[in-house]
Amino acid sequence: MPVKTLTIDGQLITSPAEQTVLDAARLHGIKIPTLCHLDGVSEVGACRLCLVEIAGSNKLAPSCLTAVAEGMAVTTNSPRLQEYRKMIVELLFAERNHVCSVCVANAHCELQDLATAVGMDHVRFEYQFPKLPVDVSHDQFGIDHNRCVMCTRCVRVCDEVEGAHTWDVAGRGHNARVITDLNQPWGDADTCTSCGKCVQACPTGALFRQGATVAEMEKDKQKLAYLVESRARRASK
């Protein structure tokens, strides 16, 4: 197996050639914040929280999509990166209606954890307060677009793990939304198998199990990684 040697935050690391900087860092206990990354599905590099500095390049690189290279020197936590990450989280909060105190995912929310981790104490940007719908037409689950951060984890898990591809992104820019089938109510989307993987994949309270009230919606993303791993193991037998 070809191996690359690189330094991450001054720590000398050997890593298999096909690994990403994010994987290599995590394997060695270096924490890089992520949001759109989900173990078991493909990377899109959309959230920009995992940006790192690579010596010799002016551009910041998303560590989830950057392969390790020989002699690479990576910095994961410079003041510049900290400032950018904080700003990204603030922008996410300002874009839709993230009101933790009345959210099903309160205390189990990746966005909330990120805000704590980057030390966000206020939002410098004007809140948009968009008027967004909540769809509870499905008999088990619901989607609250007010809480959605457009990480597209539900879209990828539905396509890659469940194979149904009920979810996708419609519209563009500010008007982009995750949709089911032809932008119809979730309950009418006949490609949906009601497997609930999207609910487990969602980092916030946007996708939830019906009947869950404030702070009751705990997600188990390990389940998805486990599912993908055991399938791969069976396939290689």
């Binding site: 009920t166 979810w167 996708d168 992104v169 419609a170 519209g171 949709i179 089938d181 032809l182």
Partner: protein, 164 residues
């Protein structure tokens, strides 16, 4: 499977031919959507579902791609159309006033169609005729060096006797 739409609408035959030309490949979705919009004027849900089935694509993907591009329309277009160019050159030459005047005369906002279906107004980023700025396209015909009065005169005719 390649097959005709049960409605027997001839336009579906042409759409089938376009899909066949691309061997029903999923990555020809954009070309097929273009053809569909040309044939039907706008994309209604059952048309999108038909395309999704034929290309073996999830409906959400087809809808997602179609809504990403401003080119595609999901509501029927009016009998007449007025496209006001808001490119830099036209904008400097007063395209915003042009747009306001047309919107006011037709009583409809850009991107929408009058409720009586007589006319729709839309905006374009640049129609590529900057030398003629400000430019508007009336029913596919480019008109340059426009004033608000001239534009209003053009669209007024549509409401009165239904022909431009």
């Amino acid at each position: 499977m390649p097959g005709n739409h049960p409605s027997g609408d001839k336009r579906f035959k042409l759409l089938d031919a376009a899909m066949k030309k691309h061997q029903f490949r999923a990555d020809a979705l954009l070309e097929v959507l273009h053809t569909a919009q040309e044939l039907f004027g706008f994309l209604q849900p059952d048309l999108l579902i038909y395309i999704a089935r034929q290309l073996k694509l999830p409906p959400s993907r087809v809808y997602g791609v179609a809504t990403f591009y401003h080119f595609f329309s999901f509501t029927p277009k009016g009998e007449h159309s007025c496209v006001v160019c808001l490119g830099t050159a036209c904008y400097v030459k007063g395209a915003a006033a042009l747009q306001n005047a047309v919107e006011k005369e037709l009583d409809v906002k850009a991107g929408q169609t009058r409720s009586d279906g007589k006319a729709s107004v839309s905006i374009a980023r640049c129609v590529g005729a900057c030398g003629l700025a400000p430019v508007a396209v009336f029913d596919g015909e480019v008109a340059g060096g426009l004033t608000a009065e001239a534009a209003v005169k053009r669209v007024k005719g549509w409401l009165e006797h239904g022909s431009g």
